[in-house]
């Protein structure tokens, strides 16, 4: 019974998120204000459904559902959606929702193609640290994904302004200043979560394997990602790196995040690999 609800819930998430995405796109083209409100309500419903889906999976499995490919990506989509919905930038950054809803949609589609079967939890993962470590890390990814969207929008708008053609995007994208602030806010928040994720992971490793750090590929890549973001924040604070460079760095950093999430799992293996 519960597994049927679970199955239907995910399909509902897919459908509702797809509608939100479509309405956001129509709004992006037509710029009719009432569509934006409708799209936001639909995206909010999608966020609620995603939460319910993750809860139902938790109830069935009996552990935090974040260990398989499907679960991790769904969690990722959830964190992107809620990171967007819970912060005030959505008011000031014009048309941000369109980009975020597309990103969340891509995540959900990837999750839909992954296996949804429940796997028994490996003994090493049976710990209180699992929800803490994985939850914090995925929240970090959510904010870093927002910074990525902001960076993409910044580059688009900057290109319009520099080329002086003032076409389609010029009207629809927000000011460079607000995108740069978005970048700064999301990176800072994301970076704090990322740091916490690495610290909790390290504490867990100490408990499970006896050492704080043992150069598992995922650990190594997390560290590389962490350094990328740390360097960027450092440059912003000391030399005033901003604008285009910050936007490019946010995109590069996010690519590293994606590689940590998928590349490592499929190419390099290690203890973090999801149950196959």
């Amino acid at each position: 019974m519960l597994s049927e609800v679970n199955y239907l819930l995910f399909n509902a998430v897919l459908l509702v998120n797809f509608v939100a995405c479509a309405v956001y796109l129509v709004f992006f083209f037509s710029q009719k204000e009432h569509l934006r409100k409708i799209a936001r309500i639909i995206l909010l419903s999608s966020g609620v459904l995603q939460t319910l889906y993750i809860l139902s999976r938790y109830l069935i499995a009996g552990y935090t559902p974040i260990t398989s490919q499907h679960e991790a990506v769904t969690f990722f989509a959830w964190s992107v959606t809620w990171a967007y919905l819970s912060f005030h930038w959505r008011y000031s950054v014009k048309n941000f929702g369109t980009f975020v809803s597309i990103l969340a949609m891509i995540m959900l589609v990837i999750a839909a193609f992954a296996s949804r079967t429940f796997q028994p939890l490996a003994p090493a993962l049976q710990s209180m640290w699992l929800p803490v470590h994985a939850g914090v890390s995925v929240m970090a990814y959510g904010f870093l994904a927002l910074a990525f969207c902001g960076g993409l929008m910044y580059l688009l708008q900057e290109r319009e302004l520099k080329s002086k053609r003032f076409g389609f995007f010029y009207n629809r994208l927000p000011s460079l200043e607000s995108l740069d602030q978005l970048n700064s806010h999301c990176l800072t928040t994301g970076f704090v979560f990322l740091t916490l994720g690495i610290i909790t992971g390290s504490a867990w490793a100490r408990q499970a394997w006896g050492t704080y750090w043992h150069w598992d590929p995922k650990e190594t890549w997390s560290l590389i990602t962490w350094f990328l973001y740390a360097a960027q924040i450092h440059q912003r604070l000391t030399y005033g790196w901003r604008g285009k460079r910050a936007a490019v760095m946010a995109i590069v950093g996010f690519c590293s995040v994606l590689f940590t999430l998928w590349g490592v799992t499929f190419l390099l293996g290690g203890v973090h690999s999801y149950a196959q």
Partner: protein
């Protein structure tokens, strides 16, 4: 037809790129070029307009005089070969020239349709020409008419209400870069009218500090006082760049005054905070390569026009209405011009005489019921001859040689004296 014809030659922002217009802009003022114009053979009346978007010569010449080549030489000097400038130049005659002038005055030909600066520029240019007695009855009338056409367009259409100008476009852009102009600092390089207008808009939108940087400090101080700002000399320009956000440059300098290599180190000092340059000078003050620097945005007048292109559609509707007014007025002027010939004036005068006779006879004859048909004929005949006699001398005067030289002035006066306009 009158013995004069009207000719208008020019270049504007539509056909000619900024790089070419820069070479033509008359930075030395109107005096010298007007004198040069007067030396061209065959020109009777002349007028010259030079703004940052256009240079136009308007002349009245004797019928048959071929001055087009001489005029284009005057405009382009040695800057371009004749084949080249044919590409950029437009040339209108008679009613087309009138129409074009009205379009310009009504701001329908402006880069930013509906902006009001052009009328002031037109009036100023006319003042120079008329002070130097370069204009005569035709151009005086034509230019005065163009001012009233502009007023009519402004009051009967909504074209000016969106308050659009270069400055408006600049503000739109500033908002896309800075989000808001609140608390932004403005630096004006050059203390001209354009700079003043731009500063007014920026301050009106929330910019706080205004610094005026000018070669002559005195002018800078005058302008700075208006905005409670400060004034500095040109040598302090680089230092100021570290402190401001928006720079409006409008000097009459012949070359570039700020290069890429000057601004690059400044960006480090200001921790990459964006700099927004607006170059409204022709020729340009700022190195176009500035735009290649990160976080530096540079726009010249042509670029700004692209911004305004965006909300052009809304104004197009009003522009159609305005064009109709211009068409109407151009037609009226054409009629007036056609009447300026001696033959039509004589015909008009005869017609008027006949009308007066007819009117008076119709009024009087019914009361003289005792008259026989023969007597009645005699009265009619007498009335006609009185009028013909009275008009005989003026007509001889009109046909006389002394009149031919300045026929336009005299015919115009003649027409006013006999009130030959109203029936048109």
């Amino acid at each position: 037809m009158p013995s004069e014809m009207i000719l208008l030659l020019g270049v504007n922002h539509k056909k000619t790129p900024l790089a070419i217009r820069e070479k033509l802009a008359l930075s030395s003022g109107y005096d010298e070029p007007l004198q040069l114009l007067g030396e061209i053979e065959g020109i009777k009346e002349y007028y010259l307009l030079s703004t940052c978007n256009r240079v136009e010569v308007l002349v009245a010449v004797e019928e048959g005089a071929d001055v087009q080549l001489a005029l284009s030489r005057f405009l382009f000097g040695d800057a371009l070969s004749p084949e080249e400038f044919q590409k950029y130049l437009y040339c209108y005659r008679d009613s087309e020239a009138v129409h074009h002038l009205f379009m310009v005055a009504a701001s329908l030909d402006s880069m930013i349709v509906g902006e009001s600066q052009i009328l002031g520029q037109l009036k100023e240019a006319y003042r120079y020409s008329s002070d130097k007695k370069c204009t005569g009855p035709i151009l005086n009338r034509l230019l005065h008419k163009s001012f009233s056409v502009a007023k009519r367009v402004r009051s009967e259409t909504e074209i000016g209400s969106s308050a659009v100008s270069i400055s408006y476009a600049a503000i739109e852009l500033a908002k896309k870069i800075f989000g808001s102009i609140e608390k932004k600092r403005v630096l004006l390089i050059g203390a001209g009218e354009m700079a003043e207008l731009a500063a007014e808009h920026l301050v009106g939108n929330g910019a706080t500090d205004v610094v005026v940087c000018n070669r002559t400090l005195e002018h800078a101080l005058d302008l700075a006082k208006r905005f409670n700002g400060s004034a500095v000399g040109l040598d302090e320009l680089h230092e100021q760049l570290g402190r401001v956000d928006i720079i409006v440059s409008s000097t009459g300098a012949p070359g570039v005054i700020l290069h890429k290599k000057d601004v690059k180190p400044i960006m480090r000092d200001r921790r990459n905070k964006p700099l927004f340059f607006i170059d409204i000078a022709v020729p340009r003050d700022l190195d176009p390569a500035l735009n290649d620097l990160d976080n530096v945005y540079l726009y010249d007048i042509d670029d700004l026009s692209n911004v305004v292109e965006l909300n052009k559609a809304e104004r197009d509707k009003e522009a159609i209405k305005a064009s109709r007014i211009v068409d109407e007025e151009a037609l009226k002027f054409k009629d007036w011009l056609a009447g300026l010939g001696i033959t039509p004036t004589i015909a008009d005068l005869r017609k008027k005489g006949n009308q007066v006779v007819q009117l008076e006879l119709e009024r009087t004859l019914p009361r003289l019921s005792s008259l026989t048909d023969k007597e009645r004929k005699s009265v009619e005949k007498m009335a006609h001859s009185i009028v013909s006699r009275l008009l005989h001398d003026p007509m001889i005067y009109l046909k006389s040689e002394s009149c031919k030289d300045q026929s336009a002035i005299k015919v115009d006066m003649f027409r006013s004296v006999f009130d030959l306009e109203k029936k048109k």
